[in-house]
Amino acid sequence: MKFFRLLWSGLMRKKLRTVLTILSILVAFVLFAYLSAIHTGFSIGVELAGQDRLITRHKVSLIQLLPEAHQEEIQRIEGVESVIHMTWFGGTYQKPSNFFAQMPTDPEPFLDMFPEYIIDDEERRSWLETRTGAMVGSKLAERFGWKVGDRVPIDSQLWGQKDGNRVWEFDIVAVYDGAESGTDTTQFFFRYDYFDEARGFGDGLVGWYTVRIKDPGRAAEIARAIDAQFANSPNETKTEPEGAFIQGFANQMGNIGLILTLIVGAVFFTILLVTANTMAYTVRERTSELAVLKAIGFTDRGVLGLVLGESFMLSVIGGGIGLALGWFMVSLGDPSGGALPSFYIPGRNYLIAAALIVALALAAGSLPALEAKRLQIADALRR
């Protein structure tokens, strides 16, 4: 601590340059924090996907439907514990930008399949009793101000009713919470029987199956068995773990993780150059002062430590404030207004940020620090 003032005074020598460098680092870490939260929004489903759940969809593509009759055949395959089906509804609420996931399903087996969606017994009973009932996630309900008892119209771009009307009416009977902080609570589930009877086409067809297996260690084997069951039929299937399915779904928008990594990488590379430049100037301008410090007894390593210390201070101040600001911005809510299933900075990303702070300090400060360490006192004092 006794060297703190010396370190601080080194940084305060050129206040404007130091402040601008800190601001550059700060912006990089705000970006890192914010993009981390966005990335989490896209990837959390993959991380929280059930290890014991498989998804069976049409082999050609997700938009091709499968016969409802597949359910019984899948159920009979050895190692399968339970099967449910869902279908992409593709609706919006009030305006096209109010987009979120809606899916018809069979309530009772659905709730057994997804224990991470938590509702109370009364809501469960109500959903089973109400044909037009819908169970919505708490985040979705908060986004649109919905509550149990509300009747909401959903305009489907894919599914019209038998009378041609594309606007479907639902009664909100349950609002579910997630068992974990990252559980997706932005979805809207409603009853398949209501959907199947009212839809204008596609009777008996469903989007995909979610299959729970008894032994996650046999996932690959069972997936092959399911696909073999429907091989050479008009409706061949592709079965994969739930995590891979969700990842594939997210990748329809592009590899978000890679895009964000490239953005953050480019920003940090630029910041590294800015910080290294600042540190290089800091040492070059103070050659004689560093020589004086050595002359009065500071060791070569001591001077190296001082320069690295300044680099750490720059990095820690900029990175720390940047992370705090990023955390604050993330706490204000996601930029899509609630469309992302989750929006937070995972704990491990704080550790990554801490590692980045250290790496930035070392990368930016090492060369100038070595230059300071090698400084010959007599030569430097003559300059």
């Binding site: 003032r5 080194g10 001591g302 006192i377 007599a378």
Partner: protein, 240 residues
């Protein structure tokens, strides 16, 4: 005389600095520049020695060798019986911190630190507490007559005051030897005289051994004795 640099009036005193047959060669590309050649010098404890000589004669180089800021190409430099050429870099730095106080022509204060903080710098390398460091620095500033300017930054001090601060920094850790490189070279006569008076007081009242490099005959006259560096060797007489 090369070897004729034994002080005549201080035979009874213990030798603090002993420079033996020192050469110093600088390399500029393929060119070798011999600055000091076979130089011998003895400086007794409590001496105030002025080193004079024309520019490039090697005065500052000799001072740097005695202060452990540079190493001789050949020969030995002993201070207090310690052959400082044998010390490792780390031990040499520790030795400098303990035994040598340096005063520079251009003060070399850190502009972002106050006078008090500049004087405290050498004490950061000791085990003294913050309170003790402050107390020692305040005392050193009092000795040089700058107690009232402790909180001022170098830019707020005159040249003479900055040099006094530099001297306070040099003596704050109570070193054995004070090495001054043109301490009045950047000052007007009045301020220069004040600095010389201060150095004399440190020598006479506090017993500090001082070696001072100077161009100025008037400054050299304040020392106990003067030696001249002529063509890399020491002489009692200036270059003719």
């Amino acid at each position: 005389m090369n070897a004729a640099v034994q002080p005549e009036r201080q035979h009874h005193q213990e030798t603090l600095v002993r420079v033996g047959n020192v050469d110093k060669v600088f390399h500029r590309g393929s060119e070798e520049i011999h600055v000091l050649g076979g130089l011998d010098l003895e400086v007794p404890q409590g001496d105030f020695l002025a080193l004079m000589g024309p520019s490039g004669s090697g005065k500052s180089t000799l001072l740097n060798l005695i202060g452990g800021l540079d190493k001789p190409s050949q020969g030995t430099v002993e201070v207090g019986g310690q052959d400082i050429g044998r010390l490792s870099g780390r031990r040499l730095a520790a030795w400098r911190a303990r035994h040598v106080g340096l005063v520079f022509q251009f003060y070399n204060l850190l502009p972002v630190l106050t006078a008090q903080q500049n004087v405290e710098l050498p004490l950061l390398l000791t085990s003294l507490s913050r309170k003790e460091r402050k107390s020692h620095a305040a005392t050193a500033l009092e000795i040089v007559g700058l107690g009232h300017r402790a909180g001022h930054y170098p830019r707020q001090l005159s040249g003479g005051e900055q040099q006094r601060t530099g001297i306070a920094r040099a003596v704050v850790s109570d070193p054995t030897l004070l090495l001054c490189d043109e301490p009045t070279g950047d000052l007007d006569r009045k301020s220069g005289d004040e600095i010389l008076d201060l150095l004399q007081a440190l020598n006479r009242q506090h017993g500090k051994t001082i070696i001072m490099v100077t161009h100025d005959v008037h400054a050299a006259a304040q020392a106990s004795r003067t030696l001249h560096l002529v063509k890399g060797k020491l002489s009692m007489e200036p270059e003719q």
